[in-house]
């Protein structure tokens, strides 16, 4: 059952006096986590990052978003929590691209809790730790309560149901720009951004920032794709 600290955090969440950013931080602290993220399901398996605390957590979400695999996508697909107390112990075949891309990222333990009702998934709460530490029984209870309250918050239609910040606004802006550069639909432009990020081992938000700053263009011309502006003759 709920801890005292969790009750305090849940009250804060319901009271509506804090920003999403502050709430993400106090939720991370509650769960003794180094990072915490909430992504909501859009459609066709796409998710949008709406709450985030910690840069490692943001990068981990970006990786899952770029690669389409990991504890978060699995929690969404199954409707059950996915608990990974030590990523180093996971067999490589489970998330081959993700595990291969984690180098240098201070994320060692990941816990993904689906937000949803029955078969309907609304989003996923992802908690990360920089060391191989499992969630205690109390922390698991608190995280489960938190996931339920977040489900109510995002489905509730009231204050707080519309997130304050789109963490990937720059990705959407870049998608628009790339779609014009390639004269292709947005979905394809986003796919190209993801593929580029994956191929170059870079976070998708960083690649998107390059596009928006016009340091990187996507062109299908004779010089080949993905020619940075600065490198052109």
């Amino acid at each position: 059952m709920l801890s005292e600290q969790a009750a305090k955090v849940l009250g804060e969440l319901r009271a509506g006096n804090r920003t999403d950013e502050q709430l993400a931080e106090i939720c991370a602290d509650l769960l003794n986590a180094d990072g915490l993220a909430v992504s909501l399901v859009l459609d066709m398996g796409h998710t949008e990052l709406v709450w985030c605390h910690g840069t490692a957590s943001a990068q981990f979400e970006d990786l899952q978003f770029t690669l389409g695999e990991g504890p978060g996508p699995d929690a969404l697909a199954s409707g059950h929590p996915v608990r990974v107390p030590d990523l180093a112990e996971v067999r490589p075949g489970r998330w081959p691209a993700l595990l291969g891309a984690l180098d240098g990222l201070p994320v060692r333990a990941v816990f993904a809790f689906p937000l949803g009702l029955g078969a309907i998934q609304v989003g996923v709460l992802t908690v990360v730790r920089n060391g191989p530490r499992a969630l205690s029984a109390q922390e698991t209870d608190d995280a489960t309560a938190l996931a339920r309250l977040l489900t109510a918050r995002f489905l509730g239609g009231g204050q707080g149901s519309n997130p304050q910040v789109l963490h990937r606004a720059v990705v959407h802006q870049a998608t628009g720009m790339v779609s014009v550069q390639l004269d292709r639909p947005l979905a394809e432009a986003l796919m190209r951004l993801r593929a580029y990020a994956y191929a170059h081992g870079r976070p998708i938000t960083e690649v998107a920032q390059d596009v928006v700053a016009r340091r990187l263009r996507f062109n299908d011309d004779e010089t080949g794709p993905d020619v940075p502006v600065g490198d052109r003759g």
């Binding site: 059952m1 009750a7 309560a145 339920r148 995002f154 802006q173 720009m177 928006v212």
Partner: protein, 229 residues
């Protein structure tokens, strides 16, 4: 203990709600708490209580036709800090107030178990001492009611939830398409995102269009959109 079996068929959830009721009492420093769920006829049934005291359960049971939970369940709003000794405050449920006073309670609160327009039930709190719940404690009580709501709804098959999720998705998607349209226009006009957005917003205002609708037009019509090409 009356268990409304048809309302909920997973004993784990009932146990969870009982635990939650007991935790309400500890966290809010009150005397008793109970959770009532509405059936398909709009009638309330006790599903969990902080303790199995018979008098307390009777107090919940008489709320099938009157009481703060009935008001909350029918009206959808919170009913907090109801002074059980005040005839005016209890005018709508005199029998309930009398029973509650006999049990030694001075104050009661009812908070909705609700998701958007869907009423699920009510959380009922009692205190033997007079005095009000602080705004912080009311927020906490509502958070606990929300958690109970989701725990209950997670056990039911819900078609309506698709609509609720669609509304959430629509709100998010509207914001995403605006960002995408900013990128499209910035690239098309070879200008900054801010400048593109300013011109986009002015155009929407001058033409009485919602920004998300205009953004969708730009995306759907590609470079063919006449006014913003």
């Amino acid at each position: 203990m009356e268990l409304a079996d048809s309302l909920i068929d997973d004993f784990d959830v009932i146990e969870f709600l009982q635990g939650l009721s007991a935790r309400c009492v500890e966290l809010l420093e009150i005397s008793a708490a109970g959770i009532m769920l509405g059936d398909e006829h709009g009638e309330l049934h006790t599903i969990a209580a902080s303790d199995e005291n018979t008098h307390l359960l009777e107090l919940f049971a008489i709320q099938h036709d009157q009481g703060p939970c009935v008001d909350t369940f029918r009206g959808g709003g919170q009913r907090t800090n109801i002074d059980l000794t005040d005839p005016e405050a209890t005018a709508a449920f005199p029998h309930f107030a009398q029973q509650a006073r006999r049990n030694g309670f001075a104050v009661t609160h009812a908070l909705p178990l609700r998701l958007r327009t869907r009423m699920v039930g009510a959380l009922n709190l009692f205190h033997t001492e007079s005095g009000s719940l602080t705004p912080e404690n009311i927020a906490l009580a509502q958070a606990l009611a929300d958690i109970a709501t989701i725990a209950v709804l997670q056990q039911r098959t819900l078609e309506q939830t698709y609509i609720e999720r669609d509304q959430l998705q629509a709100a998010l998607t509207s914001r995403i398409v605006i960002e995408q349209a900013k990128g499209i226009l910035a690239e098309r006009w070879n200008t900054s995102l801010d400048d593109a957005f300013d011109r986009f917003r002015s155009y929407a205002r001058n033409n009485g269009l919602r920004m998300s609708d205009l953004a969708r037009q730009i995306i759907d019509k590609g470079t063919q959109h006449s006014a913003l090409s």
